[in-house]
Amino acid sequence: MHSAVRRRPDIFVERLETSFGVVERPLSPWQRVANSGTFRKGAILVIIAAVWQLYATRLGNPFVLPTFTATFDAFVASLLSGELLARTMYSIEVLLMGYAAGLVLASVLTALAATTRVGRDLLELLSAMLSPMPAIALLPLAMIWFGLGIGSFVFVLIHSVLWAVALNTNSGFRSVPSALRMVGMNYGLRGLPYIALILVPAAFPSILTGLRIGWAFAWRTLIASELVFGVSSQAGGLGWFIFEKKNMLDIPTVFAGLFMVIAVGLVIEYLVFGLIERATIRKWGMQH
């Protein structure tokens, strides 16, 4: 045993090496700019716009693909006329109604699922059945039940929000660590206070994902529904705006409408959800 290793003398370092220079040094301006996600993504956007412009100019057919600059001009023009903004606000208003109603229902379903076994079975069964159903497929039926008005839109919006939010919230609740659950119960929390003060914050990463997916589903459902059935009210939303402009063969403005669909999506994603994320799960170290 002992002969297998060679004995060597101990080594002590009397004075530690100090000639290593700086321990830390600030990044160069270029390194800092390249670290900014906004900058990198902005650069990609500029490249896409440039490719679009080049291709559309070579194609030379504004009815198929207007140039980027023509689209941008149409976008500014319809913004300035106030029409595009009014249509967008109308759509967002309907969207918020449907989204809020969907969230209320999702809260009730998930609270039931978190507290009772029947509730959990119900939620799992319903969401397995209804989640894959495209919301737009329910619209004809909704029109019969609720008429040619906002009611029908709110109905299909609820459908598109509800399952995404409920499913994600439920899976978030179920992955809350058992130590955390037991801590909550230890301090006497039961029922709704337990859900509100322990489960919801602990499952917030999943809940936020659900809210994001639900929002995206709702937004595309609404635009698509308006495109198909948007004639219902005189005002009409953004989808109807796009449909109208297509009928008038005002293709650059159709693109401007699509621009707006994207712009609203970006604003909600980066401003609303991005800020919520930074103020909650990033700050709490639940996501990096």
């Binding site: 230890n186 914050p201 170290g285 639940m286």
Partner: protein, 270 residues
Amino acid sequence: MLADATPTAPEAAAAPSVVLDVAGVTLQYRTTDKIVTATYRVSFSVETADRFVLLGPSGCGKSTLLKAVGGYIEPVEGAINLRGKPIRHPGPDRVMVFQEFDQLLPWKTVRQNVEFALVRSGKCTRTEASDRAMHYIVKVGLAGFEHAYPHTLSGGMKQRVALARGLAVEPDILLMDEPFAALDALTRRKMQEELLQLWDDRHFTVLFVTHSIPEAVLVGNRILLLSPHPGRVRAELDCDGGDDPQPETGKRLSERIHDMLFSTEEARHA
């Protein structure tokens, strides 16, 4: 108070010092395909200011026993009484400290974690909670970290917060489920000593679960040895915190415990 001073039976004089009484408790839990008996007819009593250790190898049901005392599991047989009252639900008169680092609420700062426990358990109002939380955070050596979120803390610091939270509530009994098992050896040693220092200061009652013989000998003043599959009481030993060879046998306490826990198994495997 005067009424209490008038003639009392001898057992009544001894009884008030018993905080927790576990009598003939059998615990079972259900997995997806079977029912497992975790402990079988386990009895012991924890008295005021005890550092009572449940010690045994994995599978002896010590954690399950602690959860039953916590009120999370109902015994199928036997009774668990806290100050003479049966335990039915989890409650802030018995605070658990877990092994897992994720027992802290990640969305609250160190101080808010302690305040949350104080307010929710109804121990004090929001304004009182703030001072009391700070007092215990300083006690566990985390002054300056009160506004830190748990994810920025080391494992040892997180366990200190959990300990501060448990102590601040001032429960009848503190239930510690292998609280230092996930720590590195140096931090564990330090935390064990700090726990003893805190105990010297407040003389709180604690029920401590561990599978480490040295930890049991160091932390406990009374050690309950449990044998595995299912957990049954093998011995209940007094311990003065030292581990010197004992005059009558010439053996250290930790050696005796080791022999008792492993003698039957070695005989079986031989």
